[in-house]
Subunit: 190 residues, 2 copies
């Protein structure tokens, strides 16, 4: 809406776009403070900036990607990360050819692929805060342990296996096949 030059948005319009109800929108936003103006709605620009601040998106998050296989390579050039202030600033692998040669050219600046044994040093140097795990499942927990040691506190795990981390570290899983299992179950029981 900001890109389109729209100045004001009502909770009903927001609700419609998010497919929830307007009361819920007002209630959720009210939880974080007073943003709206009764009878008017919300100023688009201000609301966007407030939401970014609430979500911690008013800064650039520096990310590492571990495991430059098929999926990892795709994510290295996934443009939607950048749009949202997430930036992959280092990629790691254990496989020598990848480590020596491969870079992602689709982002403005190529991302160099480093050997995983440099993660702790690079994490400190480049202030890495989030890591994407795109290794085979057998390697995921080992990588998670290295991330903990490197004090990278946020993990987005694409390897289809549960990993555990100590308190103060956070893991979110992206398991495609689990979602496919949900669909298969629902389709089978229709």
């Amino acid at each position: 809406m900001e890109e389109k030059g729209e100045k004001v948005v009502s909770s009903a319009q927001l609700a419609n776009k998010c497919m929830v109800n307007a009361a819920q929108v007002r209630k959720d936003l009210a939880y974080f403070g007073e943003f709206g103006i009764r009878g008017v709605g919300y100023y688009v620009k201000d609301l966007l900036s407030d939401i970014k601040r609430i979500l911690g998106l008013n800064k650039e998050w520096k990310m590492a990607l571990i495991g430059v296989g098929n999926l990892g390579s795709a994510l290295l050039s996934y443009k939607d990360f950048l749009k949202q202030n997430y930036k992959i600033v280092a990629a790691f692998d254990i496989d020598p050819p990848k480590v020596i040669g491969r870079v992602s050219e689709k982002l403005g600046k190529p991302v160099e692929i480093l050997h995983i044994n440099r993660i702790k040093e690079v994490a400190k140097e480049r202030k890495l805060e989030i890591a994407l795990i795109t290794t085979p499942p057998s390697e995921a927990q080992g990588v998670a342990n290295l991330l903990v040691d490197a004090e990278i506190r946020g993990i987005l795990n694409f390897a289809p296996v549960q990993i555990t981390v100590p308190d103060g570290f956070m893991v979110k899983d992206v398991f495609f096949t689990t979602l496919l299992d949900n669909l298969a179950y629902l389709l089978s029981n229709q």
Copy 2:
């Protein structure tokens, strides 16, 4: 466990692997029938086959992939789909060079990229039941409408936008950036 030749598993062992408690494992399985043997546990082979049947995984699910960009190409050669009996048997795009030339060679048999205007015909021919949407967000709803028209009832949506489908159709979303937003929020408020 089956691959390792293990014959029997207890609810405690299953619980440990799934990081839930044993009572929950027994309760969840009991919901679908009587599988366990008191004092013994479950026969691995039988339980696996029962779970596959329950989940609708005792068959091959034929999938379409729509949008052969970066992410779409990666998913075309994502091996974990195949392991679980999900098979991409057709890929679609609207961009002529992709439509003419490109195939995924990493699966045993290459997947031909077809023009999206053939989806209805091909869905019927190849009995497509699930589709992965990997288009830009602006195209996702339009593609979803074509899938509905082609009677493909299960959709795994990777395009970061909400799509709507009629009753009887199902959408599961894979939104990386939303999960990153969760992490960013948690890391900001630690």
